[in-house]
Symmetry: C2
DNA sequence: CTGAAGTATTAACCCATGTTAATCACCCGG
DNA sequence: CCGGGTGATTAACATGGGTTAATACTTCAG
């Protein structure tokens, strides 16, 4: 029996969408494979490979990223504790991007069979997986808007707001701040700025009293101000248990057999 | 019986994923609601509204876009003829972005009921819908990389490559080029540049003999060169009928009942 | 405790892209 | 054929953010 105690973070996250029964929670526990520990900057899945199951980050930080042939790199998403990959990953023949840890992390995997089993037995869990995917896509759209339209200061502020709220939703943030075990140069690859300019931007955010980022953690001094600066509207994270899927027919959607 | 003859473009597109039977094609035809014609710059669905069905663009051009409170706008995806929205749109309680036409377009809608019916009866069609969604997400990731890491010239070149190949896949491109009924300022909102710089960039692409964009159409003079400049690798469009989903179990995935 | 490697910070300078604003070209309704 | 509006093009100038490079801090293995 693997130690999957930390899977409660995934459960907690999914419960932002809908309450789960004890049975459903148990099913998630049982579905989890062994927990593997990774150091910083190890690859979970590489571009071109086929995913063998759905990864769930239990602790630590990971990210999706893509590189251009000449080495320029863009981070296209973060995995925080409790986050899982899209439940459809293993449909794809090959990954079009790489997933790597940013910090030492523990990760478990829901095997293909376990996911198929769960989704055939627990409609509500399945819907929660959908919700998870939809939120991830909405986050991607926000990142596009940020990188395309926001200034450096707004961009970094927006990212900080998002991470803070996401960590809050799984109980990993305090009013004072949260962990952020990410290097300035990784931040740079995330918000599409140079390291030097990220440094300047952090300095400015500190100067105006909004946040300060020390080694591996983020201190939030004025969330309202940060939010205003970033034009951050948390709606896209759908964390209100808002019953995304209320329709009683929705559960049949895209059934394929 | 609505005139949905143009739905063959959707069929043609889906057949990039897998061959469809006559019955499946007929089902798609029958599922289509009335065709509506839109002029330029009309909204199909607005941010905050709930989608009532899955839109399919039969002719013309449309896009997804988001605006910041102060008016800055980012286009986050294009709908070309034959493209359909994610089959899950109507799960969401509210859209987090707006979909509008860029040019006069005709659009049909697969109602919620029609989609549920199709997906419950035709597993292969359902898988084709999945494929469609997965490709759209991969496109989103590419855009993030483009806007984050590519220079203005590379960015515009990459967008042109993508549009050209996508139109090709539904038979709407010739060796000489394709339609592109998009304004320079819309292009600017797409690639996150100013209109002036888009103009400079187009001039440069013309000067070096790669493409020229005249009113509403794109002439491709040297696709290989364009592709090299953009570092464009069409793999992410999954147009090879590569059997994304080969696994005979995959069709049960995420069944929710 | 020491050295090496990675990370952060800063300053100086540069350039890709933004801004403003003028002019031109085109289209379309009357 | 005229007039007005939208879109394209250019020039001149401004600037946000990139680059380079020097220095300092942190971490950690030994």
């Amino acid at each position: 029996m693997p130690d999957t105690s930390l899977i409660h973070l995934l459960i907690r996250k999914l419960e932002n969408f809908a309450e789960l029964t004890e049975e459903e929670k148990r099913a998630l526990h049982d579905a989890a494979g062994p927990v593997r520990s990774y150091g910083s900057h190890e690859d979970l899945i590489r571009e071109g490979e086929q995913a063998s199951g759905v990864a769930v980050v239990l602790s630590g930080f990971a990210c999706r990223h893509k590189m251009l042939p000449d080495g320029r790199r863009q981070i296209i998403g973060y995995f925080l504790p409790g986050d899982m990959c899209d439940a459809r990953v293993f449909i794809l023949k090959k990954m079009d991007h790489t997933i790597s840890t940013l910090a030492p992390s523990s990760v478990t995997t829901l095997s293909r069979e376990a996911v198929l089993d769960i989704t055939s037995r627990y409609p509500r869990l399945t819907r929660a997986f959908w919700w998870n995917t939809l939120v991830e896509e909405a986050i991607g759209r926000q990142w596009l808007v940020s990188i395309g339209q926001r200034t450096a200061l707004e961009r970094v502020a927006h990212l900080f707001c998002e991470i803070y709220v996401r960590l809050q939703s799984v109980g990993l943030a305090t009013p004072e701040g949260c962990e952020l075990p990410v290097t300035q140069s990784e931040l740079a690859d995330t918000v599409a700025l140079s390291t030097v300019h990220v440094n300047r931007t952090l300095k400015e955010l500190r100067r105006v009293g909004l946040v300060s980022m020390s080694s591996k953690s983020l201190a939030i001094h004025d969330f309202a101000g940060l939010r205003a600066l970033a034009m951050f509207d948390p709606g896209y994270l759908h964390l209100e248990g808002e019953g995304l899927i209320k329709d009683r027919y929705a559960h049949t959607m895209l059934r394929t057999s």
